[in-house]
């Protein structure tokens, strides 16, 4: 069999449990271009960081479509919704993101996330109490998934009971982020269609709630989105919908993986787990190091360059697709000392876990707080926790990477 390309080996499910050796191989050719029409893979920390701040690199879905990489958000497959700010360039990106932020963070709502701390703790306590007399749980289904979903529902103002309904639309959307399902992956047409349909249905579902909030605002993010009248004006109804779809999905999947990857890593490093049990404050550096060591978003496959650019002496022609391999950059020995070591005492830890630049993760403050609370409470309450299966089974997705199940055995609850 001819040697499979590195890009294919990375997206190949067989390497999901431990892609890091592949990333190390990748970094030996920091700008890797294996096939004509294929993407340029960027794997070193400094190059990724530079490209995330490069105004010649576009996230615009239409530019990408031109580069032959339609995904959800491509012009003809947005399910009738305009692209979210994640798939737009300035100035549109900036405007939408700013409006979205007025309901989310400083300066207008500096305490919105911090103010949810108590509620988050309650949800976590309830979920852990819910383990009951069990001595073994699937941490994904029983904890890491329901927790952030409950939080994002509450934040947006989406009824928690509807979760089983919208989950059927979220799943295909998330799956379609996987480059395996992209052109060349073999199953593109099917996935594209189902993603498009899912996005449309999710949008329709949310439009009902948004209309309610327009009439009768409440203290939630949907109300803020639909009623914002700042210096940037208001979002159109369609913009409100695509923004809410984005927030609902992003708030849905990334944190699940961060918490699960986190618990897996802690169980593999019992001494850190022990320290965290004794000192919940350690959760802050633990989560930062996790974002470096096992980031949920492994790569950003949605960039293209609007002109020829040069990276490390290689000219990437205008219109080429670029994959920014965040997880590879996070383990770049050029940037981090002893990068394959999980070390929450690291002092210099400017990781790429949330990306960087104008598209840096919008939900970062929320994800940080959720994961800090989740991990410190699990550490505190589970007696003698241990992994049942190592490595655990993984989700298919190479972009949003994390265990599908994480069976954990323990002796009881504290």
């Amino acid at each position: 069999m001819p040697h499979a390309s590195l890009a294919r080996r990375i997206t190949d499910f067989g390497n999901r449990a431990n892609p890091y050796p592949l990333y190390a191989e990748l970094r030996r050719t920091p700008v890797l271009h294996e096939e004509e029409d294929g993407p340029y893979l960027i794997s070193s920390y400094y190059d990724i960081e530079a490209l995330l701040h490069d105004p010649r690199i576009s996230s615009d879905a239409t530019n990408l479509a031109a580069a032959g990489a339609d995904g959800p958000g491509g012009p003809e497959e947005t399910g009738g919704l305009p692209p979210s700010f994640l798939r737009l360039d300035p100035p549109e990106h900036d405007r939408l993101r700013r409006i979205a932020n007025t309901g989310f963070g400083p300066p207008h709502r500096p305490r919105r996330i911090e103010g949810m701390r108590g509620a988050m703790r309650e949800i976590v306590t309830e979920l852990i109490d819910g383990f009951g007399d069990a001595r073994r749980v699937d941490l994904v289904d029983q904890f890491a998934y329901p927790f952030p979903v409950t939080v994002i529902c509450r934040l947006l103002g989406v009824p928690r009971e509807d979760e089983p309904t919208f989950r059927t639309w979220v799943d295909p959307l998330v799956a379609s982020l996987d480059p395996e399902k992209r052109p060349g992956g073999g199953q593109e047409a099917e996935y594209r269609q189902s993603a498009q349909e899912a996005r449309m249905r999710l949008g329709m579902y949310l439009s009902g709630l948004v209309e309610e909030r327009a009439r009768e605002p409440r203290d939630d993010l949907l109300s803020d989105l639909v009623n914002s009248r700042g210096p940037d004006g208001a979002m159109t109804m369609m913009e409100v919908l695509s923004t809410s779809v984005l927030l609902l999905i992003a708030g849905h999947e990334t944190t699940v993986n961060l918490i699960t990857n986190g618990m897996l890593t802690l169980l593999r490093h019992p001494e850190v787990l022990g320290r965290l049990r004794a000192d919940p404050g350690l959760s802050v550096p633990v989560v930062e190091e996790l974002l470096r060591y096992e980031p949920p978003v492994q790569l950003v496959p949605q960039r293209t360059c609007i002109t020829d650019i040069e990276v490390r002496g290689v000219t990437i022609p205008k219109g080429s697709r670029i994959w920014l391999m965040l997880a590879a950059g996070n383990r770049d020995p050029e940037r981090f000392e002893d990068p394959d070591r999980f070390d929450p005492d690291r002092r210099d830890i400017r990781h790429l876990g949330f990306g960087s630049g104008i598209h840096s993760c919008f939900g970062a403050p929320l994800a940080r707080l959720e994961t800090q609370i989740a991990l410190s409470e699990l550490a505190r309450r589970l007696e003698n926790p241990r992994l049942v299966e190592d490595p655990p089974p993984y989700r298919e997705n190479a972009v949003l990477r994390g265990p599908r199940h994480l069976d954990v055995a323990f002796d009881g609850l504290r």
């Binding site: 960081e49 530079a50 701040h53 490069d54 105004p55 010649r56 360039d89 300035p90 100035p91 630049g357």
Partner: protein, 463 residues
Amino acid sequence: MPADHIERLRREGRIVIVGASLAGLRAAETLRAEGFAGDLTLIGDEPHEPYDRPPLSKSALLGVASPLRTQLPRRREIDAKWRLGVAATGLDLAAKRVRLADGDEVEYDRLLIATGVRARPWFKEEEARLDGVCVLRTREDAADLARRLRAGPRRVFVIGAGFAGSEVASACREMGLPVSMAERAGAPLVGALGGVVGSVAADLATEHGVDLRTHVTVTALEGDTVGRVRAVHLSDESVVEADVVVVSLGSLRNTEWLTGSGLGAGPRGVACDAGCRAFDFRGIVTDDVFVAGDVARSPHALFGYQFLSLEHWGNAVAQAETAAHNMICDGADRRPHLWMPAFWSSMFGVNIKSVGVPPMGEQLMITQGSLAERRFVGVYGHQGRIVAAVTFDNARWLEFYQRQIERGAPFPVEFPTLDRRPEGRQPVPAGFPDPSLPTHGPMVTLSGYSPADQQLVFHPSRH
């Protein structure tokens, strides 16, 4: 044996730092971090341990932070002798001694000069003494001004629309105080960023309710019978009543104590080489006197080896670290201070950042965003190269432009960028005033090649 000598210096040498503020503290910490085990003395004329200044014109005025609580965080123990509240008054280069105001003398093997700058006072002494006439450099200045602003003056008058003046005006507006600001040039920030960007700053100020008066100078401050300031007289014959006047006319370098020492020190600062070693007045580099921070004037390879005086927080830190490193190293182990000039400010709700040396640029291109929206990236060009960039509410792109400057990328910027508008396709004159005319305290001043240039004098005719 030079190697031996350095070993001894590191083990049991005596290092004296004059100026116990940002640069002084960071230098002391670096010395210890790099293994200096000898005697370390910090001399500072202010009675406080090192504190931070940028909040003084921002949060401290608004009452968000107390001006008395801006201590600089310590990075590590420095185990130093502190001589606070006492000024250095003289330097004997040959005997390697610093003279202090209390008559004491301190001997050194290596000396670091980090005496910074002070606010340029109002030029008529009597008027400067009027109650209500303020400057803003120290903690006490900020506490005093904050108190006066809280008392609800009928009007505040800011003389000079540089960064500091504009920040004060912005704070006043945020507190709902009527404020006037006078500027000799055609707009605020002209000295630092040029007329094109300055006009954006002018719109910002006026839209936020600042009574901005440009192309005028203040000719006199008038007091009432009990010695409180009551009005400001302008060169256009107008008179503005105000009970607080903030003099924001740039700074003077604290070099008087070096007069007669033989160092190349004067009104433009202490000249040094790229390794932070001070020059003597003949232009010959010393080997045991180093300089860092606002008081230093050093050549920068990226900018034609011009001597730059930078009143920038980040420069003070980086230069202090380099100076400290070089103080306890020899020859090839020494490093040049190659810090990329960078500055930030915030006013009227806008975040302003710049890298490089904008006043060096003759031309400007708005490569992203638009001046009209006050959200943009402006790139400055000098002789076919990018030499600086400024962002208004667009800081995340700055890193990219910094790299372009470092690489000497060509100007005009020919490649397309995201969010490039038609207005940004052609360069325009950046609109800096004629460099032969003095301006009100630009944050960056460029001077010629001569390190012992002591010819600059203050021109009262400007006001």
